[in-house]
């Protein structure tokens, strides 16, 4: 391994911050690994870029949703007559305006959703299941009239006792959210109705035998609160019907095709009648995949005969869209005296929110993935509670589980007096090892992240002495994390322009710079400069099927499609060049933008010249590709963090953070670093401050940015990154998905650092000042 060479501009040298450690021996790429300005950048810094709420059609009406004030209640009746009578109100909708749906499971792209649950989440049927559950909606000529109108809708509720924790939900006499829900356990349903939607189990070896061989056993229980993705842009959609029966939606979404599929199922219309136009999106992190407002806006627009625009307020985003699961995790792990992990037994119960579908399965699969461990048993429970339906949030399920496993491992290391990185090196997984839940690892880079962390100056830098004069206690913690990443379907078209540039059309909404990484992979393949490829994100009428921007898949799979489309262009352009040179295409090489004959280097023609003469040689050249690739590379990360804890206030400050991650190949290193830093920042918020705060009646009390406290730039230091490149053998350029795994280690790394600072193990998230004081016995 060696550090990459490359000139560091002076202003970057002032904050060294980031480095790349790669195992390639020679620099083979012209474009990949460079840092061009992203293609959509100028529009975004000038304010010209159009996000979902920036569109305005003539005649637009404004839609508002009426939301339940109760966490759990039967709806006895809904009277919308006064709202309908208000001047300016053009349409009112309740669940009866949506087609009734049977219990149908639809494979809607990456996430599998139960359509009836999705429909009743969009507009409640019979019961409301969380504070904020949508009950009715109106469309009016102004937002003020719409707000007035929803206040005139009379709903008669029979309030029911709410269930607000997995413990409460799993009691035998707990109030049931869904009277017909029984526990599913791998194809079998239980007899009695329950709030436990499913039970899954991973078992390997014999945990009892493993524990009996352990010199050190640690057993702990952990609790985490729901946390929200926290994207700055609220959900928004504009819906318009045409007299030919077609529907167009302009919106922000992580997946235009997923929205199209969901709307087709929910409104029972063919996909061919729906066009979804994705505008720029202001953050998603998994929370902008399933629909909330879109079917409602469509129904209102149909009834009113005019376009309807709906945007959530910030409070509605918190109350009405999925956070990720709160959880209770019990974990027992054992290790031998010489530091080998012998056994792990875990119980995971995750809050699914109002409808089944927490990411507990993923949590159980990721929890121990970094380690070789013979004896494992994990029981995982998906539990419904009266909170908003959980939605995907960046490596869904993994962070909760890693908070437990990485904390317990730290405690084992302490008892064995072993360095935590050495311990992980000893037990860490590599190519050919079998993951705890079964599959064998291909080439992976986990150990390389540990080595890079160990070698980093941060790891050996002196911590300020813990008896420092400012009274604070200082500590350092480490943690690792794993996420499996996703492949999925993508399409790309690459058209050759007469000036030798490429129009690259793809279907992945660009949340973090993926237009650039797609264009760069295309450019690399054709020997063009990054700026000679013009990427466009197209709507569902203009590009072939493409799955969501999520699951860390876009640079991997959409990039692959762009690579394949570029290969198709190369084949066709080679034939055209051959015609112009009057030789065989097999004789030609393309390098540096020039086709040259292998037999006679005098015979050559530039790519640009061939492009200018396409009309003479057969017409336009368009390359196309669709992919559903295998060879998805999994992701590992190892983080190191220094904290200072004020023992009087319980406040924890992050002093220094280093994130190490195996990215396979960094297409655009700046945006890879950005994903790492962004995941860390969300993880810091999850660790220290963020939580959904409920009263006893199940009402969410902190539905604002003031009280749902996300990190500001004053709460974070510079976040140093180390990009480790162990190329994914499955991908043409070695790419591994990078976006999700960086959120997995931070809560545990910070918990471990806090322990090393104050000597108390934290087992709740967030580790807010109040929790730290309580854990250290200062609130008695």
């Amino acid at each position: 391994m060696r550090e990459s060479d490359g000139v560091i501009p002076a202003h970057r040298a002032r904050f060294p911050g980031s480095k790349t450690v790669t195992d390639t021996k020679t620099r083979k790429y012209q474009v990949i690994g460079t840092r061009p300005i992203r293609h959509d950048g100028v529009d975004k810094v000038t304010g010209r870029a159009r996000y979902g709420a920036d569109i305005h059609l003539p005649g637009t009406l404004y839609g508002k949703v009426l939301r339940s004030p109760h966490a759990h209640a039967r709806i006895r009746s809904i009277d919308t007559s006064k709202a309908e009578a208000l001047p300016g109100v053009k349409a009112v909708a309740t669940a009866k305006d949506q087609p009734a749906l049977a219990d149908k499971i639809a494979d809607l792209g990456e996430a599998v959703m139960n359509l009836r649950d999705l429909a009743t989440n969009v507009l409640a049927v019979g019961k409301v299941l969380y504070h904020g559950h949508a009950v009715a909606a109106v469309a009016a000529t102004s937002l003020e009239i719409a707000e007035e109108a929803i206040a005139l809708i009379e709903v008669d509720y029979e309030v029911l006792p709410p269930v607000l924790s997995v413990e409460a939900a799993m009691q035998p006499d707990a109030p049931l959210l869904h009277p017909t829900l029984t526990t599913r356990s791998l194809g079998q349903q239980s007899e009695t109705p329950s709030n436990i939607a499913s039970h899954s189990k991973i078992k390997k070896g014999d945990v009892d035998a493993g524990f009996s061989q352990s010199a050190v056993i640690v057993e702990r229980e952990f609790k985490t609160s729901p946390v929200h993705q926290g994207y700055i842009e609220p959900h928004t959609v504009t819906a318009q019907w045409s007299e030919d029966g077609s529907l167009t939606l302009w919106l922000s979404t992580q997946g235009a095709f997923s929205v199209r599929d969901q709307i087709a199922e929910l409104l029972k219309i063919p996909v061919s009648q729906i066009r979804v136009v994705p505008l720029e999106i202001g953050g998603g992190f998994g929370g902008k995949i399933q629909v909330y407002l879109e079917p409602v806006a469509a129904v209102l627009a149909k009834k009113a005969g005019r376009p309807v625009k709906m945007t959530m307020t910030r409070a509605e985003v918190f109350m009405g869209t999925g956070p990720t699961s709160g959880s209770t995790i019990r974990l027992k792990m054992g290790a031998s005296q010489d530091g080998r992990l012998m056994a792990a037994q875990a119980y995971l119960a995750y809050e699914a929110g109002a409808y089944p579908g927490s990411p507990v399965g993923a949590g159980s699969m990721c929890m121990l993935a970094p380690y070789n461990i013979e004896n494992v048993q994990i029981d995982a429970y998906d539990v419904v509670v009266n909170k908003p339906k959980a939605a995907a949030y960046r490596a869904p399920g993994a962070t909760n589980a890693a908070f437990a496993s990485e904390s317990v491992i730290d405690e084992i290391c302490e008892r064995l007096e072993m360095d935590p990185l050495e311990f992980r090196l000893k037990n860490g997984a590599k190519e050919g090892d079998r993951r705890a839940d079964g599959p064998v690892f291909p080439r992976i880079g986990y150990l390389e992240t540990l080595e890079a962390a160990k070698a980093h100056p941060h790891y050996s830098a002196p911590l300020t002495r813990s008896d420092d004069s400012d009274g604070r206690k200082y500590g350092r913690g480490v943690a690792s994390g794993f996420w499996m990443n996703y492949g999925g379907q993508s399409t790309a078209y690459a058209s050759v322009n007469s000036d030798g540039t490429i129009n690259l059309v793809e279907g992945s909404t660009d949340i973090g710079g993926t237009r650039a990484s797609s264009a760069m992979q295309c450019a690399e393949t054709l020997g063009l400069a990054s700026e000679d490829v013009k990427p466009v994100v197209a709507d569902t009428g203009s590009i072939g099927y493409t799955e969501v921007t999520g699951g860390s898949r876009t640079t991997f799979a959409t990039g692959w499609a762009c690579f394949e489309a570029a290969q198709d262009v190369k084949r066709q352009m080679t034939e055209r060049a051959a015609r112009l040179l009057k030789i065989s295409p097999d004789d030609l090489d393309l390098a540096g933008g020039v086709f040259t004959s292998k037999k006679d280097s005098e015979k050559s023609i530039g790519f640009k010249e061939v492009a200018a003469r396409l009309g003479e040689t057969g017409g336009p050249v368009v390359g196309r590709a669709t992919v559903q690739p295998k060879g998805v590379g999994v992701a590992f990360a190892t983080h190191v963090v220094d904290v200072a804890v004020d023992p009087e206030t319980g406040k924890t400050d992050i002093l220094r953070y280093t994130a190490v991650q195996d990215v396979g190949r960094a297409i655009h290193p700046s945006y890879v670093e950005g994903q790492m830093q962004g995941g860390v920042a969300q993880g810091v918020g999850w660790a220290l401050n963020e939580e959904y705060y409920y009263d006893d009646g199940g009402r969410l009390l902190n539905a604002s940015f003031l009280d749902y406290r996300m990190p500001t730039c004053l709460d974070l230091p510079m976040i140093d990154t180390v990009i480790v490149e162990v190329p994914n053998p499955g991908h043409p350029f070695g790419v591994r998905g990078v976006g999700e795994v960086p959120i997995v280690p931070p809560p545990a790394a910070i918990a471990n650092a806090i322990y090393h600072a104050i000597g108390t193990r934290m087992n709740v998230l967030p580790m807010s000042p109040r929790e730290v004081l309580e854990a250290t016995g200062q609130l008695d």
Partner: protein, 155 residues
């Protein structure tokens, strides 16, 4: 009954009609079509709507449109000039200080206001000043580098 307001936005004379209850943010976005300022929270907690009003950095969601009679307003749309990006905008692009970009207009306006007052801010000063702008994508590292880098590189 709408109120008639005259102001200067990005150096240009502007007239508009608005309800007394409409915020400056609504006026910019819905009346004047200047959608650079964004609504993230509508109660002064995220900074995505920041503009400079008579030389002061404000959340435009907390200012009424009618309050801006006779005022000078600077939005993100006024930062590029004569076909060239403002140095802050250029540096944000070079440093990759944006991912989804929704907070970027707010940060650019805030950073411009910062550099007007502190032409060479320390990292701490920059972070303090920018703490009113939330970003969920970047972790702020590259934003702070871009702002300080612009100051170091001159304006």
């Amino acid at each position: 009954m709408k109120t008639h307001v005259q102001a200067r936005i990005n150096g240009e004379e502007v007239e508009f009609l608005c309800e007394p209850s409409q915020s400056l943010l609504e006026v910019l976005r819905d009346v004047l079509g200047l959608t650079g300022a964004k609504e993230g929270c509508n109660n002064g907690n995220c900074g995505a709507c920041n503009v400079i009003l008579d030389g002061r950095l404000v959340n435009s969601c907390l200012v009424l449109g009618v309050e801006t009679q006779g005022s000078e307003i600077a939005t993100v749309e006024g930062m590029a000039a004569d076909g060239r990006l403002h140095p802050l905008q250029q540096r944000f692009l070079e440093e990759a200080a944006l991912q989804c970009g929704i907070c970027t207009p707010g940060f650019l306006v805030s950073a411009r206001a910062l550099l007007d007052v502190h032409p060479h801010p320390t990292e701490q000063q920059a972070r303090q000043w920018l703490a009113g702008n939330l970003c969920r994508c970047t972790g702020y590292d590259k934003i702070v580098r871009a702002v300080i880098g612009t100051a170091d590189g001159g304006r």
